[in-house]
Symmetry: C2
Subunit: 358 residues, 2 copies
């Protein structure tokens, strides 16, 4: 059968450390489950490339990547040399937007064996998805600075939402909730303060909920929602959120499960008109780069999400996904563990252990 093609971009910082472990596990899974895959590495979309070329990617980046079935991505950002908004808008945020990866799916789960920062929580108590809108909303470069350098200096920053964007995000969230046992969607809102866009989001969600009589919709303001991620995590199932709110919740959620070093994400174009992108939630982490102590599990779990997506959640691909997640669970329990989980292991130790279990 035709091979599925995966573009590999490691990026900056610990992206370069965790990617080899992702690939190690990917290769082990492909071998065991006989998955027809091929990989191609690209040496751009990182800040060294920017230093040499004055831009993050070659002009024809889109043509180069367009034919791939998926993109496996490490992390981008090296603020000491390139401001974050330049490096991110020049790479990751371009992929998300130009490849219309409008769903950013981020599972949050407490694993057995991870010391939970929330007192008294057990595996099973924290198990939900953040479904984040990934192409519009608060992330824009629209607006500007006026009267710069004077007493009247002011800044306008625009957020842009479309009905199409809200509806397809909400549909995905409600479909996901319907497939789960709790059948519960939380909408992250702030309609009491942000007076145009957020009341509109509330209405979009209420309208969508009408199509899902068996799913409960619960609208919560983002402030109290973050409080409840800490105080009542068991109340969540599927959390639908705008780009910004989803960004916040998908760092906070994983933090409550012990470390953001576990959290994977899938940037999906569900229609498969463009390649989807899989990456850890953590960034390039300049503060720990170079020591090889980054936890590769977020990267490896992202590989599992990729395989599941490539195989439409079926057959050998689904089995490969499940086997990787099982191997992750086992390794978290038995060790080796990186320092964020209280261990002393190096990045490759963990990757090798997981590949071994596979």
């Amino acid at each position: 059968s035709k091979k599925l093609r995966i573009a590999v971009l490691a990026g900056d910082g610990i992206g370069k450390e965790v990617m080899p472990e992702g690939i190690r596990v990917l290769e082990a899974a492909a071998k065991r489950f006989d998955l027809p895959l091929e990989m191609q590495h690209f040496d751009w979309a990182h800040c060294d490339y920017f230093a040499a070329h004055g831009q993050m990617m070659p002009d024809d980046w889109k043509a180069q990547l367009q034919g791939f079935d998926a993109i496996l991505f490490g992390a981008v950002g090296w603020p000491a040399t390139v401001p974050d908004h330049v490096s991110l808008w020049g790479s990751l945020l371009k992929f998300r937007r130009e490849f219309d990866q409008y769903i950013n799916l981020r599972p949050v789960r407490l694993f057995e064996g991870v010391p939970c920062p929330l007192a008294g929580r057990m595996p099973g108590d924290i198990d939900y998805y953040v479904v984040r809108e990934n192409t519009e909303g608060e992330y824009t470069a629209l607006g500007g600075i006026m009267f710069e350098g004077t007493d009247r200096e002011m800044v306008l920053q625009e957020a842009v939402f479309t009905r199409k964007g809200a509806d397809r995000l909400l549909k995905f969230a409600f479909d996901l909730a319907q497939s789960r046992s709790k059948k519960h969607v939380t909408l992250a809102t702030k309609s009491n303060g942000i007076a145009i866009s957020m009341p509109w989001w509330d209405k979009c969600a209420e309208a969508m909920a009408k199509n899902y009589p068996d799913v409960v919709l619960d609208k919560q303001h983002i402030d109290i929602l973050t409080a409840r991620f800490v105080l009542q995590p068991g109340r969540f199932d599927v959390v639908a959120a705008t780009n910004l709110f989803g960004d916040i919740l998908s760092d906070l959620g994983p933090a409550t499960t012990g470390t953001i070093g576990l959290a994977p994400s899938a940037n999906l174009n569900p229609e498969r008109n463009f390649p989807s992108l899989f990456e850890p939630v953590h960034g390039s982490a300049p503060d720990i780069y170079g020591q090889n102590i980054a936890n590769p599990i977020a990267m490896i779990w992202s590989v599992a999400l990729m395989l599941d997506f490539l195989g439409n959640g079926q057959g050998a691909w689904r089995s490969a996904h499940d086997a990787i997640v099982d191997a992750i669970s086992q390794t978290i329990l038995s060790g080796p563990r990186t320092p964020d989980l209280g261990g002393q292991a190096k990045t490759p130790d963990v990757g090798k252990a997981i590949a071994q279990v596979l």
Copy 2:
């Protein structure tokens, strides 16, 4: 000496339950420390008033309140009858903006005797301030809906920042940090994603930091910042934030200290051109209203912040502040405690106990 005048507005829901306890403690403190105070109650800025008058407040609300030295506020919002953005923009958000209460100061502290939802944290481990910009930013009714009801429906939502607004917020935050032992300011940013306003905030903060060589500035993206409120709360001292980010952080922070039922806030016009406003961070909480189980401590602590502000942090006023906070600490430790703290006490039990200690 001339009496200082306090306007009292209880608002909706549990605002009506906690306010009497705030007043009980205020009266006890005034008596013990001989504070020249007088109170006046206003029966508007609540949703019943809206039901009767079609607006939250009388037309001359500003004239009625203008001469007061402070406003003691409960909570507003009763979404079953009035949408939140209508009730809030018709009351609290008007006060903040029209009385130019540009600082929203919110202490976050773990008290002895409160079961901490973060595993293994002790009093002293969590002790910081959120300094929130309170008059501009993401909270606007600017923008609109276009192509409504069609395939092209879209929404623009504007955020507006001024240099004056950013600078006075940052100055307050740096001054506060300078007066504390850690001398550390964290700026909540999102300059990697929100491409106009947030890089501009970064620059404003860097410029302000130059005036405070003894204070460290640490810029953190809001996503990882929320994660660190859970994972590394000890790293924070003074957190400076825009209106929205400050709103989020000042619910999340208190949640990590056990309950948002403790968190007070001071909406300050430091120049005293207008009355400042003191209120609990929690809202009207329709879900628990009517049972008299709301924790009045956030309200009572807000009273303490008010006295400190009224007395410029000096003399009998400062002593009254300190005595109230001590009485709160003692009562948390000895009980009675409301259900959010694991107890069975009613709202007035806690208020009476604190007044008693005073």
